[in-house]
Amino acid sequence: METVSYPLRIPEEILALAKLRAKEEYLDQSTALRQMLYLGAEDYVLSLVETGRISVGRAAELLKTSVQDIHRLAEKHGMRIGATGEQQKKSRLTLNRLSRK
């Protein structure tokens, strides 16, 4: 993933957490911070998928990952991101039509 530098004021407590994570996971502090930021972005993107604001394909594009990874992440977060009840009803109309073909 391409990175850009961005000036940011960070609460001391978050920085302390990043230090702890860096120490425990043998990372440098910036990497630990970036990882925490990415995890937050992941949650946010999944919530956008769950509420139907973006597609799975767009989510994969935003997180620079695969559609399969989006499915895995959604499952990990206990999210079911499939068709709504109303959409399933419309799909049933197609099913009825195709089953007569």
Binding site: V49, E50, G52, R53, I54, S55, V56, G57, R58, A59, A60, E61, T65, S66, V67, Q68, D69, H71, E75, R80, I81, G82, A83, T84, G85, Q87, Q88, K90, S91, R92, L93, T94, L95, R97, L98, S99, K101
Partner: protein, 159 residues
């Protein structure tokens, strides 16, 4: 013969369910190149479905078509291209379980089929047995909404 356009979400779920090959035998299945590329990204992390779809495409059981599609807000390149391909082919439906994409298709009045209903269709048309259909639904139970899974099970005649 029924003509279906697959998006990445639909193709991946049906490949995991183990019925994509059966669907490709029952209907003419198409996929835009952009969708195919999205699916193949899964090979980097060794997702089985990506290899299954690649094999079906290489054997021409799924036709991968190059189309130009403009970017649409909230959709990925694969979904936008699937919409264009549907129109170009005058296909019968798009197979997807992607909430945002389906909402877009509803607005455009495009027919769609969810993966659970695609499995029901295969069972109705006897392209797979009832037992196979029930097993395949179980394989993707964790990937679809519980109500949609239950409905499909009921339609096939499971418990």
């Amino acid at each position: 013969m029924v003509k279906l356009v697959l998006d990445a979400d639909g193709a991946i779920k049906l490949a995991r369910a183990g019925v994509l090959k059966h669907l490709a035998g029952f209907a003419k299945c198409f996929m835009p190149k952009q969708t195919y590329q999205e699916v193949l990204r899964g090979k980097e992390k060794m997702y089985d479905d990506a290899f299954i779809i690649e094999e079906l495409a290489e054997n021409k059981e799924i036709n991968v078509i190059d189309v130009k599609a403009e970017e649409r807000i909230g959709l990925g390149p694969g979904e936008s291209a699937a919409f264009v391909l549907f129109q170009k082919l005058k296909a019968d439906a798009i197979v997807s379980d992607d909430r945002k994409f389906l909402a877009f298709l509803e607005e455009e009045e495009i027919a769609f089929l969810t993966p659970t209903h695609a499995i029901v269709l295969l069972a109705i048309k006897k392209a797979v047995s009832k037992e196979e259909a029930l097993k395949s639904l179980d394989k993707i139970r964790h990937l679809v909404r519980e109500q949609n899974y239950d409905e499909a099970i009921g339609m096939i005649g499971g418990e």
